[in-house]
Each structure stands twice: as C-alpha cells, then as structure tokens.
C-alpha cells in the first residue's frame, strides 16, 4: 500500500519536474551584445499565461517559446523595435509591459505630471495664503478647553 503511494508520488513529481525556470543555458545567444538586447526586450514583454511576469522571469513554456522567438528575430537582424512590433502583431498590445502612449494612454503617462502641477498649484496658493494671513487669536475655544489644550501642548 505504502509502496504504491510512494511510486505514485514519484511519478507525480517527475511530471511536475518538467517545469523549467526562466532563461535556460541553451537559449543564450553566443553574441553577448545580441544576448543583452534579447534580455532587455524580454524584460519588457509580458508572459501571456502568467500573472504579471515578464517572459524573462517566467518559467512557463510559452514564455520560453517567446524568448526563443525574440532571439531568432534578433539573429536575423531585426532592430529592437522590429522585434517588439513583431510580437505585438501576433499577441496584441497586452504583451507590452510598458504601455504605448497612443490613444487615451497619454492620460496614463500624463497623470503624474498633471497631478503634480495641480497639487503644486494648490499647495503654493495655500502657502501664500498662510504667509499673508494675520496671526489669529485662539477664538472659538472655551476657557476650559483652552486650558486643557495648553496643558497638553506644554507637556512636550
């Protein structure tokens, strides 16, 4: 009984062990310059069957196929952009980890700067207001509250 379980487990383990991990030695190109470019491109392409991993990091077999595809195109003399376009034509813009800037995507790229300008403008206006405001009296607090507040603040 135990023996059967053991052999079943071993079989199962062998089945699982098929999974490879990220870039394999047999994929690496001989030309270091091309290989560096291949790594750069792969880091920007999403593994389609994984969740939020680039094909450079992923151990899925589809990612391996894509890594090999990228290297094949590079060996054939494609520029980085051509390789990326080739992959996007086949798999759609979903593979791009860096979204394009076309269409409404400009809003994504501009979101930070726009917010910074807005926040900076509001902040600057506030600071100007504060630096010109007259020194207020501590109105609006009852004598008791005033005393309690003072007591708390003096503790520091």
């Amino acid at each position: 009984m135990i023996g059967t379980i053991r052999s079943a487990l071993v079989a199962l383990v062998l089945l699982i062990a098929g999974a490879a991990a990220a870039v394999q030695p047999d994929e690496v190109l001989d030309d270091p310059a091309l290989e560096t470019r291949a790594r750069e491109i792969s880091a920007g392409l999403r593994c389609l069957v994984c969740q939020n991993e680039s094909i450079d990091e992923s151990n899925a077999s589809l990612a391996r196929d894509l890594r090999i595809l990228v290297r094949e195109r590079l060996v054939e003399g494609d520029s980085n952009e051509e390789v990326v376009d080739f992959v996007v034509d086949r798999y759609g813009e979903f593979v791009l980890l860096t979204p394009t800037r076309d269409g409404w995507n400009w809003l994504l790229w501009a979101a930070g700067p726009i917010m910074l300008l807005l926040a900076g403008g509001i902040g600057a206006a506030y600071l100007r207001g504060r630096s010109r405001a007259p020194e207020p009296s501590a109105a609006g607090l009852s004598a008791e509250e005033e005393a309690r507040l003072r007591q708390l603040l003096e503790e520091r």
């Binding site: 999974a19 151990n59 813009e93 860096t98 979204p99 930070g112 600071l127 504060r130 207020p136």
Partner: protein, 674 residues
Amino acid sequence: MKGQARETLDAGLPRDYKRGMITELGHFALILAFLVAIVQMVVPLVGAHKRWPGWMAVAEPAATSQFLLTAAAFGALVHAFVTSDFSLSVVVQNSHSAKPLLYKITGTWGNHEGSMLLWVLILTLFGAMAAWFGGQLPPTLRARVLAVQSAIAVAFFAFILFTSNPFARLAVPPFDGQDLNPLLQDPGLAFHPPFLYLGYVGLSICFSFAVAALIEGRVDAAWGRWVRPWTLASWSFLTIGIGLGSWWAYYELGWGGFWFWDPVENASFMPWLFAAALLHSAIVVEKREALKSWTMLLAILAFGFSLIGTFIVRSGLLTSVHAFANDPERGVFILAILVVFTGGALTLFAARASAMQAKGVFGIVSRESALVANNILLAVSSFVVFVGTMWPLLAEMFFDRKLSVGAPFFNFAFTPFMIVLGLILPLGSMLAWKRGKVGRTARTLAPAFGLAVALAGLVWAMQTGRSLIGPIGVFLGTWLVAGTLTDLWSRTGKSGSVARLFRLPRADWGKTVAHAGLGITMLGVAGLTAWESEDIRVAQIGERFEVGAFELELVDVQEVEGPNYFSTMGEVIVRQGGDEIARLFPEKRNYPVARMPTTEAAIDYRFMRDLYVVIGDAQDNGGWVMRTYIKPLANWIWAGCIIMALGGALSLSDRRFRIATGEKKTAARAVPAE
C-alpha cells in the same frame, strides 16, 4: 485498510467530538462579536449626540468584549488547523496532516476566510486599544471614535459571516487535506500578512478619529497628537509587512527580484505612502494647527486605500501573482464596504471641512512648507501608482483595449518623485518652523552634501557601464543618512555632546533613524538595480567555474525528502582567492499534495553583496542548470525597512504620546523646543 480506518474512527470519536465543540464555540463567538459590534456602533453614537453619559459608556466594555469574542473565534480556528479538523472546508483546502506545525498555525491566515478573520481580529484589537488608552479623550469624541470603528467591524463581520465563513463545515470530511500553497509555507510569508494587516487596519483608527472629529465639527492641535501615535504604529507595521513580503519574493521566487509592481504589492504600497504623508501632516496639525482639513482628508484616504487594497486582493479583479481568492461576489461586497465608508466619509468631509479654520501663520520658507511639499510628493506618487494599477481595468472597460501596465512604467513614472523627495528631505527637515533660513540650513548641511557628491562621483568613476541609477542612489542614500545625522548633531547645539544627544526627545531620534533607514533602502535598491550580475550555465558535477570574483563548484546533487515535499538539493562550494568562503545548498522542491514545484535559492548573505545560487533542471549530458547572481547591497533594502520601522517605534515611545493617550503622568521634564 478497512479495519484500520474503522479503528481510527472509533478511537477518534470522543476527541473529534470535543474538537467539534471548540469549533462551534468559535463560530458562536464570531456571531456574538457581530451582535456586540452592532450595539457598539449605535448606542455610543446616539449617546454622544444626546449627551447621555450612560449610553456613551457602553463603548468601552463593548470594544473589549468584541475583541475578546473575536480572539476566541480566531483561537478556535487556529485550534482547528493545528488539530487538522478536516470537517472544516478551509482546513481541508489549506492544510495537510503532514505539514509542519508552524505552517499549520500560519496556514490559518494563508487563505481567504482565515485571513479575513485575522483582519477583523486586528480591527477589534485596535478598537479595544483605542478604548483602553483613550481615557484622556473628550467623552463624546471617544464614544464617536469607537462607534465609527465598530461600524467598520460590523461591515467586515457581515462580510465574513455571509460570504466567507471560515467555520463552514463539510458533510463528509475527507481523511486528509489538500495542503497549503507551498509558496506560503515559508517563515517570511507566514508573518507577512499579520504585519501588513496591523498596518492596514491600524489606519482604521485614524479614519475613525477623522470621521468622529468631522461629526464633532472640531479639530485642534490635540487631535493631531492623538492621531499621530496610531499613524506611526500603522506605518511602522506596514513597513515591516511590506519589507517581509519583498524579502520573501527575493529569496523564494528564484531570481532575486524584490519588487514587481504587482497589483497586490501596489495595494500595500499606496496605504504606506498615504500613511507616511499623514504622519508628517499630523505633525503640522499638532505643532502649528495648520493643514487640518488636508490631514482629515489624508486620514480618510489612507484607510480608503487600505480598503481598496483589500478589494484588489480579495476580488482578484486585477490578475496578479498572489490573488488566492478569486470570487466576484466577495469582491462586490468589499466594493460596497469601500463605497459606503470612503464615500460617506468624503461626503461628510465635503460638508464639514470648511468649518475647520487654519490658525498657524508661516512663511514660504519654513518647515511647514517643506512638509507640504513632502505631502504633495507622497500623495501624487501614490496617485501615480493607483492610476497605473487601475489603468488596465479602465482601458478595458472604456476603450476596449486589453493592455498591461508593468514594472517599466512604474519605474519610469514613480521613481522621479522619490528622487525629488530624497533631495529636499534633509534640507526641509532642518528648516525652522514658521520662518526658516535656507542659507543657514544649507551651510550646516554642506559637509553632508559634499560627502554625498564625492561618493556618487567615486562610484560613477569605478562602475563598469554607465548606469545612472547607481550613482544617483548612492548620492541620495548618503545625502539622507549624512543629512539626518547632521540634523541630530545640530539638535545638540552642534556641540556633539553625547550627554545632550541622549537627552534629546525620542521623537527626534525616531525622525533621524527613520530618515536614515529610507536612505539605506534607497542605497540598496539602487545598488541592486544598477550593479547586479548574472551567470547562467550548465554545470557538471565537480566542475569549477568563475562568476565575478568567485569560483563555484557543484560538488553533488542529491534527492532529499522533507516532511511534505521531495527535494533535489545541490551542494555548491564557493571559493574566493582559493579559500572556501561558503557552502551553499540550493534546492528544487516538489510538493506532491499541492502539486507544485518551488525553487529554494541558496544565498550567501554578506554586508556588501549577496551571492545567490539557484539550481535548475538536470540536463541530458549529466549536468545541471545553474544560475548564479551577485547582488550588491541587497540586504540594505530590508535593513533600511527595519531601521525605518525602528524609527517609527522610537517616535512612538516619545513620552508626549504616552501623556496624550493618558497613560501616566510624571513630572514634566524640560524638553528642548524644535
């Protein structure tokens, strides 16, 4: 086989019966806690409105009993996991009798239902602490804070009981469980959720304080002082939680990445950024009675983003590496909670915020302005992370485009904010309140600046390749550490007297330590990003090969059996200059029950670099795939996180917070003004 099973059943009956009782009692305690929470939500609120002391007084015992009941429910669930009670469906799905005890315990929150129970446990703990330490608060404010806190608890108790009940039973219990996701069977990740939740949920107190103050219609300096310790504690816990998660990813996922801008990571990072902003703006409220309504808004947003984070993780709406609960019904429920609480609070804010008049008057060049800049940078950077995280969803819903927003976008769009923040931090944190003098502060900081420029220039000259991020990181890190030390030194009247140094308030120390920690983390991130090197090869057993300054030898590969896994374990000798400096054992594990392989990297941790070795598949020619990485300054990332959290803890221990929260009153010792 049949006889054996029969025997186990007979022998097991009385024990199973008792075990079942404990589980049922836990379930019952959870329902009771829900009912107590409803009472605590309504009675003190009405009491505060009508000024009935008896009704307001209900809040404290209710908060305590709510916590004790939830703790009992949680304890019962832990008990069910430890004793492998496979009549509970969560236990079946996430445990196995052969699993090590530690992971049976941590498995309690390694799943959706259990982790939500941990969430409310911490929520009620914070509620109880607010009740215990809130003796100094005005009674109406205290009653309202506890009522709002309890309203959040009601929502989450309902969520647990109606959509995610951990005590759900199976009619026919199986003989054994399906095991916990092996990636979660790890000390780093085992304690990642509790810390993260302590942070997330701790912000609920700030939220409750903000809403209660809006209902009261009054915010003063004392309010800022009451809120700050809770923010400090939450922020420190979040820092540790995020650090643990990142460290786990580093050693467990097999290639030593430490941050992936995954939606789930962003979910914890946004509240962290907001908590950091809140931490700083509450100082302005406390010391200068300015920025009041902004601080209210931050308190609401910080917890709002915690809820958004919970929603992102729990709904599985955004695809992600670690969304282990993909269930739309639960997502909708949390979305409703999010809309009701954040929306309600923001509406209240819009109606009441204008009543809060700012008092403090200060010049354009002042500590106040620097803190405003800090808040702008932190809030906008958090907003960038938010937009980037949600963009794929928005693009699909509105423009019918399926696209991805990945790490390259975030690195590009987020990093500049942190660089600017690092640049102004030492200067801003030394400016005087009300009216500062840039010239004088800059002169004090000149040596720190010079040191930072010199070190950055040095690494620029020494590095191979022309990476910009390395020298920038070295500059910022040194500038922060040296700048904040200069600040501390100038606090002693530039005397450098050790006695005076130790008489400084803990809050000053906390500030220095936390800012230095940020600098150290920046150094680590830049070093690892800029100067990492990698080697991928097929290694034969007995073969020696060189990676950077190291010589590695794969001595042996063995099959090893763990408690609930099989492992292929390599033995690698690392030599430097001919001497053996380390022996590493990288593993490839397979968890047969969970049917998952994991990579266990072997890491030689050193001060200036890590050597990170991973073993891959066997090759046809008898060799093994080996990956070796040299990771400069990697440890600094997490060391910086720990130091930041330590800074938070130091500030938290400052006596003025103990007084503010009403612990004990000792004769006031004179503390130098800032």
